[in-house]
Amino acid sequence: MTVLEKKICMMGAPGVGKTSLVRRFVDSVFSEKYLSTIGVKIDKKSVTVEDTTLNLMLWDLQGEERYQWVRLQYLRGASGYILVADGTRPDTLEIALGLQENAAGRAEQLPFILCLNKADLWGQWGITATQQEWLKEKGWTVVQTSAKSGDSVEEAFLSLARQIIAQGT
């Protein structure tokens, strides 16, 4: 059994539920106050894919929207990233697209997934199926998650882990 450590960044517009998305699924020692004070909080999520255990060190970056661009430098040394958008707010998808564009322009092609959060509020969704199709056609991995019910969160981590192993980053 191989154990590998990987740095993963979580990015997304404020209020999309990055923090709550992982809260129930990770080992955490730092309080969420860290996010508002120094702007970073690190949690750990272990995922096993076949005979490899990945210890994903999740860098949750907080801050106002404009700081998200600055904080892209935290991507340095990362093996992948998780984009989070709020399914009920199409503008957050725009921000996620922008972030991905910046990340892609910045570093080598890192594996990433897009979590469309708040799947439990399906009736209020503003992101259309067409948009999702378009993203999947671009080669994106899109997962509809719900921080509230926990639906598909494990699957999202697993999906990213597989990509990382496949790519060998």
Binding site: T2, V3, L4, E5, K6, K7, D27, S28, V29, F30, Y34, I38, G39, V40, I42, D43, K44, L54, N55, M57, W59, V70, Q73, Y74, R76, G77, A78, S79, G168, T169
Partner: protein, 584 residues
Amino acid sequence: MTPDVGVPPKPAPPAPAAAPEATSPAAEPPSRRAAEPPPDGLTRLRAIILGRERDAIRRLEQRMEDPAALAQAVERALTTSVRRDPRPLADALFPVMGPAIRRAISQALAGLLQSVNSALEQSFSLQGLAWRWEALRTGSSYGEVVLRHTLLYRVEQVFLVHRESGLLLAHLTTPTVDAQAPDMVAGMLTAIQDFARDSFQVAQEEMLETMQVGELTVWVEQGSRTLLAAVIRGHAPVELRVELQRTLEGIELEHAPELTRFNGDASVFNRSRPRLEALLLMETRGQAGAGKTPWRTWILLTVALALLLYFGIPAMIRQHRWEQYLTRLRGEPGLVVVHAARENGRYVVRGLRDPLAGDPAAILQQHRLTDEEVQGQWQPYVALLPGFVLRRAERALAPPPTITLSLSGDTLVAAGAAPLAWFSRAGGMAPALSGVGSYVEHRMAPRELPGLAQLVAAVEARRVLFASGSASLDSAAIQEAEALAGEISRLDSAATLLRLQLGVVFAGSADDVGNEDINERLRQLRGEAVRERLLPRLPPTLLSGAATLPPDTTAAPDQAARALRRSVRALVSLPDPAAPEPVP
């Protein structure tokens, strides 16, 4: 080239490098062998024409791949470059070396400052004094002693962190420390570095080197690809930082390939654990002992001091008083100290004492000592000091106040007026007194006694003058009479002290002009006038009466002498105690 073309190839021994290819193609890697087509005419031609050059190129390639050979070439190149002009190389290295040198210097200065601060802090304290004493005792410098005592620290945790990703490569703790989630802490350590850099806008190579939390200090050293963080309890010396740097350099050198292509597998860094463990072992020597505050010693010292104060100081005061007392006794006439010592917890003084000498018990009291503290044992003796001889004589002979006793050598002298009985008694007793060899008397009339003679002369020199033919006192006469009364009072006081009975008679006189009967009358009247005048001023027992002086029959030489004869003067009588008592 030319010889190769002109001369056909000989089957001479080929160059060693070319040998494998030419003689045994089977030695080639299979892939390569499979890829190469069988040698055709062109290949053979190429081998013939370019054979040597190909060998040379291959040798060059091999040298390029051999690190040892390359190192030699690079060394030579660097030496030549520096010799020719050192500047290009210095310029090239400066961006790398500059910050490193700067950091080393600033850390050395910080270390120096730390030592100086500790030294100053401790200089004026009790601890500082103790260390100064230790430095003196052991012959080491004060600075060394201060460092030895102040550098108490323990490295509790060491983190080796991949700098770029913040992933933990290795983590060690001392056995007693309970560290939580070191992988997440490692990430945060990196994040905080970024945070500090972003917040304070410093250069990318600058870093957060020290974090202080209560007794814990986190020192972070940065290498090209890793961070080394040490969690330290206590005050670590700057040498530890140097050691951290050295360890980090060693690890980066050892793991250079793994660090270059780090894929998240931290297990390979287990090789560096011994280096990191060495850091944990860097505890100071004084640690074990220093943890225990020497409070027992302090209590003992305090108790000892209290006892010393309680018993020592009164004892010191007593000793001081005793010494003063002895000094006084030794200076006291009539006392001879023969032995003085402390016996059975009290002072004892033994000696001889003249009965007329000062009382040792009274002197003891003056020195605030009690007879419980000091025991005196005195044997009586007779001191032959002049003062004592004289005092013994005065005690034995009991002279009247009109007699003065003195000692000249061993001769006792009695001078003055005294009853005959006294003189005869003194003459008998004096030679028998201790210290008296002989006895001499100077008998005197009372009015000759020192102290009286002058006063008598002063009284008898006064003249109360009268006008010719007059017996009444004019103002000048009254003034003179008053002055006379003052002189008589003084003489009376002195006589009373000597227990002598003074008598005064105012004797009038007259000039030689005129009828003798009248003059006789004037003499009497003038004497009585002065007596009447002074009667209220003087005790009546003193003034036995007025008298007349016999007429002066000699002719007065001038008017002044004549005027002086028209006067009254006082005549003093002092009965001589040596005279036989008048029969009543």
